[in-house]
């Protein structure tokens, strides 16, 4: 079974440009999450999809960030326009839908996309 994949692995862009990050969750996982780790800080939650619907976007920093999940499959996170403080590692995770078992709580993480804004 393929794990969570993210593309690209690295991206270097200039301030003011647009970048789109992509996440492909594990097949069949209804839940998809985005997290971000800014240099030297903790990993922070950005948002959570259940299928194609945004369940919780309380962690999105501002309206320069737009997340979508087409047809409940892959997800994209667009940053437009990028600012210097957006640099960091963006992680995607997925988990199965609720099936009444706490084991469904485990989130499976992708390798992350390292974004550098210069």
């Amino acid at each position: 079974e393929a794990g969570v994949t993210q593309f690209p692995s690295h991206s270097v862009i200039e301030k003011g440009q647009t970048v789109t990050l992509r996440c492909d969750p594990i097949s069949g996982h209804d839940n998809l999450y985005w997290y971000r780790r800014v240099m030297g800080k903790e990993i922070k939650f950005l948002l959570h999809f259940v299928k194609e619907s945004k369940q919780d976007e309380s962690g999105m920093p501002n309206n320069r960030f737009l997340a979508e999940r087409t047809g409940g499959t892959y997800s994209t996170l667009k940053v437009q326009p990028a600012e210097l403080e957006d640099s960091g590692v963006y992680f995607c995770a997925s988990s199965p839908g609720w099936r009444g078992a706490p084991s469904s709580y485990e989130q499976y993480f992708g390798p992350g996309t390292r974004l550098t804004v210069t």
Binding site: G3, K41, E42, F45, Q55, F91, A93, Y105, F109
Partner: protein, 113 residues
């Protein structure tokens, strides 16, 4: 609001020595607790989790952790480390009924030969 504090940003140890990585949490509601590991150039991998029941939980690669509710701690231990344990370790919590994980700052474990 919930928070997780990992008391050490870096922990250097010698190979085959025991190690303890400390994690304290704060929450007014019941929590599930997790330890994740990130090896160089890889994603986060779940080491172990505490959901309920026995407070001593065993994970992969010989790691274990003990949930201490009175001290609000979930320290990670291994009796004898190997070079391959060199990685960054993250403690995280999730409150019952919520989906998002709240992470600590991470502890970088360095194993010296």
């Amino acid at each position: 609001a919930q928070s997780v504090t990992q008391l050490d940003s870096q922990v250097p140890v010698f190979e085959e020595a025991p190690v303890e990585l400390r994690c304290n949490y704060s929450s007014s509601v019941s929590v599930y607790l997790f330890w994740y590991v990130q090896y160089p150039n890889q994603g986060l991998q779940l080491l172990l989790k505490y959901l309920s029941g026995s407070t001593l939980v065993k994970g992969i690669n010989g790691f274990e952790a003990e949930f201490n509710k009175s001290q609000t701690s979930f320290h990670l231990r291994k009796p004898s480390v190997h070079i391959s344990d060199t990685a960054e370790y993250f403690c995280a919590l999730r409150t019952q009924g919520a989906q998002k994980l709240v992470f600590g700052q991470g502890t970088r474990l360095t194993i010296n030969p």
